[in-house]
């Protein structure tokens, strides 16, 4: 089996994405079984990777600088060094072993884009505050933050190629397919959803499963009775020395997509490093 996770980052003046990717890779090493813990990093700044304390958490570091920010993620199929890949956003953390999810995907699918996300309380997100374009245009509700694909899949190739084409030609696709509500930006999620709809494959690539469970910490979708600009304004994040996270009164066991980039501090990284070194 040649399975691995893929994280795609690029240099950014405001956010240290390498730090976030490093924390994610450490959490993967700390929690996943051997064989399910490989991580490849795609970055435009390989030199910086050499400066981190434990660069070995990245099994592969690949230099690539053709696209910036989220546009790069649509090239995940071309960039991945693995035969079976799960591409993740950098601002995520793992808290337990999810290898059995990987086994399921390898056995049953060529391509899977998760159609659900969860609040920190474990409720399925139903609020469309950030997804008006999806509901108004009846797009499949896809989240690219956890995308499984096989390198040799024709279906995946066709899907990602169309996704890239949509990202490169946003106006045309907005005018043609998003008449109900035009988003300002066609991001990876919108592009993937449009591609799935045009190819009519969303039942194949985003069928209903109880996993993967990813807690999506965007503030306006937490089922709160008030508007919120950040989650941490309203509930505490408690990251302990065993790298366990409690948000408010809820212990987090699933993947957490924290969104607030300041959540990962040097102290967070240091806790994760210590566990990785002792493993």
């Amino acid at each position: 089996m040649n399975f691995g996770y893929l994280i795609i980052i690029s240099k950014n003046d405001e956010v240290d994405y390498l730090k976030l990717a490093y924390a994610l890779a450490l959490s993967i090493k700390n929690t996943q079984r051997e064989g399910y813990d490989k991580v490849a990093l795609i970055t435009d700044d390989v030199q910086s990777v050499k400066k981190i304390k434990s660069p070995w958490v990245f099994d592969r570091v690949i230099k690539w600088d053709k696209e910036k920010h989220w546009d790069g993620r649509s090239f995940m199929d071309e960039l991945s060094p693995w035969d079976q890949t799960i591409c993740l956003d950098a601002d995520m953390l793992f808290f337990r072993d999810y290898s059995h999810w990987v086994d399921y995907f390898i056995e049953n699918t060529e391509l899977y884009v998760t159609p659900k996300s969860y609040t920190y309380r474990g409720e399925v997100v139903t609020d469309d505050y950030y997804r008006k374009a999806f509901t108004h245009n009846e797009l499949p509700n896809l989240y690219s933050f956890y995308t499984f694909f096989k390198k040799d899949s024709v279906l995946a190739k066709e899907f990602f190629e169309l996704g890239r084409y949509i990202i490169k030609n946003p106006t045309e696709f907005k005018n043609l397919f998003l008449k109900g509500y035009k988003p300002k930006i066609i991001g990876t999620d919108e592009a993937f959803a449009l591609a799935a709809k045009i190819l009519d494959i969303h039942d194949e690539i985003a069928f209903d499963l109880e996993f993967p469970k990813v807690v999506h910490l965007k503030p306006m979708i937490q089922n709160w009775p008030w508007p919120a600009s950040t989650v941490s304004d309203h509930v505490g994040f408690y990251f302990d020395l065993n790298a366990k996270l409690k948000i408010g009164n809820f212990q987090q066991h699933d993947i957490v997509h924290y969104n607030e980039k300041t959540f990962v501090t040097d102290e967070t990284v240091s806790i994760l490093e210590e566990i990785a070194w002792k493993k």
């Binding site: 309380r121 474990g122 409720e123 937490q222 008030w226 408010g248 809820f250």
Partner: protein, 286 residues
């Protein structure tokens, strides 16, 4: 395994909980066909003798268990249709149900929970040691607020201790011990779980205990049915032929009421005075 219903009733000067317990106990006994026991205190028993309800109580209850009345400054808003007032509220000893119950399998209900169906009988043999109502359903359907569903706006789901079923064993002892601990440290837990500590609520204490025992996450517990609830603003205006007729209030306007009839469905009537006013009619159903 012997089974039965347990009801707590401690009278205050304003509310005759004992009378409500006789109504609730009688209905539970009739519809669930199991013995019912009452947990009460000396002064409430005295009042039952004075008000001559003791004889009815003796026919309804399998056992009348006398305990010391908990000393409390707990107060609640007693809503009776358009009027309301703060009244003392003695609810601090619910966590002792595990020790007090004479049954191996107990259904613990509030004294304002009127059992009019056999639905809860389905749960006696359920493969779960502890079950509680996970939520409440408003009789009108549109008066459920955030704090009816959660302990706090950002907090854990609120279970309703109006109905609790448990088997007496080590596992459930842990639940009741934890509820007791939360009650004793209520202000601390109010800080942690962000709820108003001014009124002690068993619903909150049970919700926190279950959340903690589930590992601080929401799990698919085995639950009793949600509690169908008529709010304090709703009033019973007639009880006859095994039917309860109510005037359901609109939160927006006092003048806007809807008449409805509840039959063969269990209901939590939060307007306690309304039950007391119709006690004689309820007694005729028992």
């Amino acid at each position: 395994m012997n089974k039965g219903v347990l009801i707590f009733a401690h009278n205050s000067r304003q509310v005759d909980y004992a009378l409500m317990a006789i109504v609730a106990g009688g209905l539970a006994k009739k519809n669930l066909q199991v013995p019912v026991s009452l947990v009460t205190d000396e002064s409430t028993l005295e009042w039952m003798k004075i008000s001559k309800t003791i004889s009815k109580a003796k026919t309804v209850f399998d056992k009348i268990i006398e305990v010391k009345k908990p000393v409390t400054s707990n107060q609640r808003l007693l809503v009776d249709a358009y009027t309301s007032k703060m009244v003392p509220f003695v609810n601090l000893n619910r966590s002792s149900a595990w020790d007090i119950t004479p049954y191996e399998r107990t259904l613990l209900i509030d004294s304002d929970y009127l059992v009019q169906s056999t639905n809860l009988s389905e749960y006696w043999d359920a493969d779960s040691d502890f079950m509680i109502a996970p939520s409440m359903n408003d009789i009108r359907g549109d008066r459920i607020g955030v704090l009816d569903k959660h302990v706090s706006e950002t907090g854990i789901p609120l279970c309703w201790a109006t109905t609790v079923m448990f088997t007496k064993n080590k596992k459930t002892k842990l639940v009741f011990n934890l509820v007791e601990y939360i009650k004793d440290n209520y202000a601390n837990y109010a800080d942690l779980f962000r709820f108003n500590p001014n009124i002690y609520r068993n619903d909150i204490a049970f919700s926190i205990a279950l959340h903690m025992l589930d590992g601080f996450e929401h799990s698919d517990y085995n639950y009793l049915p949600p509690v169908l609830t008529a709010s304090g603003k709703d009033v019973i205006y007639e009880v006859m032929d095994n039917k309860i007729k109510l005037l359901i209030n609109d939160d927006m306007s006092e003048d806007n009421v809807v008449a409805t009839t509840i039959s063969k469905r269990d209901i939590h009537v939060m307007n306690k005075q309304s039950i007391v006013r119709h006690a004689k009619e309820f007694m005729s159903l028992i």
